[in-house]
């Protein structure tokens, strides 16, 4: 989609989701808001890790950066007596800027690392969060974290719109905006540079791409998205605490990105939905099981992790491009079933099907006596 097409599409998606909240229970609206918050972070991660090839386990730390930026800004403003839409939007901007600044600093260091070294470095960031919050417990509230004063829904909406529904609106708008921005970034000049650097950084540099800057920018963009996600989560839960942004969250975000389809923004949507609704539905399933209370207690929470792990293994074995990869393959098969099979020249999102080896005879290049032409796949 071009920018001119993606803007109406984004507006339509936001309108449809906001309309949807009118028929949802308040609790489901709340879940939808958390989906949107996680979606921001997963979309950022899928850009960094999928398109940029930089494996990061630090996404939860950047979310925490956003959440604490949000909390500090919101509480400072509430203390100063500021109310109204500013109290709603300024902390979110602070969350984005705070996390982006973190991402910029981290990116400058991380730009020199790759593969497992980068993963190790970002892992250390997440592990350091509780230590940071307890060291600066005066400001960050230690283990307990911070409670946040949030702007409630406008008086005019009271009675018709629940608070959860109102909160989900802001989350929906933010998530749609993040998706639109990332979509346009990826399909433009920056996206090409990013994939070129991931694939062959030497060739990219020789073509004039600044490799280090591309890596740092991708880290910063990913951090800004995570920060907005963290800010939204802080807004929805009205708190920011170290326990919410543990290593487990980082791993869940990465799992969600992989299960949804790493590198695909639509895949990030599936990942975010699964991340919120899978544990919830499994937990309500175990609550209904006719088993002893002791067993039910042990199943509660743990079964969801087991299912998540199993799904991850199955996805890696059977559908390496995730849910979105399955969907695009199914759509292509459906389209081709009615018509003539398409020749291989339509690349699409190849990868699982395409091999890196010789491409076989090239259709249509056989009769070219002059200029440059090849007739065989491999000389």
């Amino acid at each position: 989609m071009t920018p001119s097409k993606s803007l109406p599409a984004a507006a339509g998606a936001a309108a449809a989701l906001i309309g949807l909240t009118f028929v949802l229970e308040p609790f489901v609206s709340y879940q939808l808001a958390t989906v949107c918050a996680y979606l921001c972070a997963i979309a950022g991660l899928t850009v960094l890790t999928g398109s940029g090839g930089q494996l990061s386990l630090g996404q939860a730390a950047l979310m925490a950066g956003g959440a604490y930026s949000y909390a500090l800004c919101a509480n400072a403003m509430a203390e100063a007596g500021i109310e109204g839409p500013v109290l709603l939007l300024a902390p979110l901007a602070a969350a984005v800027l705070g996390a982006a600044a973190m991402g910029l600093v981290i990116g400058c260091a991380a730009g020199r690392l790759h593969g497992p070294y980068l993963a190790g470095f970002t892992l250390a960031l997440v592990v350091a969060i509780p230590a940071v919050t307890s060291t600066f417990s005066e400001m960050l509230g230690g283990d307990q974290g911070l409670w946040i004063t949030v702007e409630k829904r406008p008086d005019a909406l009271r009675g018709t719109v629940s608070n959860e529904q109102w909160q989900s609106w802001l989350a929906i708008l933010c998530a749609v905006a993040v998706m639109a921005v990332l979509h346009n970034l990826l399909r433009g000049r920056f996206g090409r540079q990013l994939r070129a650097v991931r694939d062959n950084s030497a060739a990219a540099a020789l073509a004039g791409v600044n490799v280090a800057r591309t890596k740092i920018v991708s880290f910063t963009v990913s951090a800004a998205a995570a920060g907005l996600g963290g800010g939204l989560l802080a807004y929805v839960t009205q708190s920011a605490s170290p326990g919410a942004y543990s290593l487990v969250l980082s791993l869940y975000l990465l799992m969600a990105a992989v299960i949804g389809g790493i590198g695909s923004l639509t895949g990030a949507v599936w990942g975010a939905l699964i991340m919120v609704f899978l544990p919830h539905s499994i937990n309500s399933f175990t609550a209904d099981l006719p088993v002893s209370p002791d067993l039910a207690q042990r199943l509660d929470g743990n079964l969801a992790i087991a299912v998540f792990g199993t799904v991850l293994v199955l996805v890696i074995l059977l559908a390496p491009r995730g849910i979105q990869g399955l969907i695009t393959a199914a759509v292509r098969r459906f389209r081709n079933s009615g018509t003539e099979p398409l020749p291989e020249t339509t690349a699409g999102t190849a990868g699982s099907t395409g091999s890196a080896g010789p491409a076989g005879p090239v259709p249509g290049t056989a009769s070219l006596p002059t200029k440059l032409s090849t007739t065989k796949g491999q000389p």
Partner: protein
Amino acid sequence: MSGLLVLDSVSAGYGPVPVLHGVSITVAAGSITAVVGANGAGKTTLLRTVTGQLRTTGGSIRFDGTDLAGTRVEDMVRRGIALVPEGRGVITELTVDENLRLGGLWRRDRAAAATLLVRMYELFEPLARRRRAAGHQLSGGERQMLALGRALMAGPRLLLLDEPSLGLAPRITAQILGLLRGLRDDTGLTVLLIEQNVRSALAVADDGVVLSLGSVVAARPAADLAADTDLRHTYLGF
């Protein structure tokens, strides 16, 4: 004679291992210079040093009168130096079109880049048919064309090629080398070519440089070198 690219007793190496020992080469503007030599003579290292992927440990490299010391790899292309890396460094996940446009990405002048893109598809007809194919779906010859096209998209004054014949059929090698000759005649492009395929490289080049164990052992007109039987026997093995 002042050349477009002048290497003055350049030394370089990997860590404690020196590879180039005081190499001096002058590449005249508008000429094709072929650097030949056996495996391990330092040919690729020479190109890596010129493009700034490897730092010199001594000597200087001057391009069009300016010292290249400290120029970053990604800025080389802005100065007018483009390299076609060994092993056809196409970005396999990008399409043909995206690969070519990557070569002109640094340009601010988008119209010029678009014109060049059209020109590349005229030059490399097989690529025009496979615009939307991913890099990994191309054949060896197509990949070499794509890598060459991407370098030319930068509109370079100096084109560096690392083993363009590697793994290609002789006929395609001849076509690609012939194309370089045509580019030199039409646009005045200066080419520095690294080749193991000595015979065809010297056939297309104006000047030849023989590199052996990191030192220049001969630098003469290419026809001269090709005719020198003793030199060929001693250093090039045919």
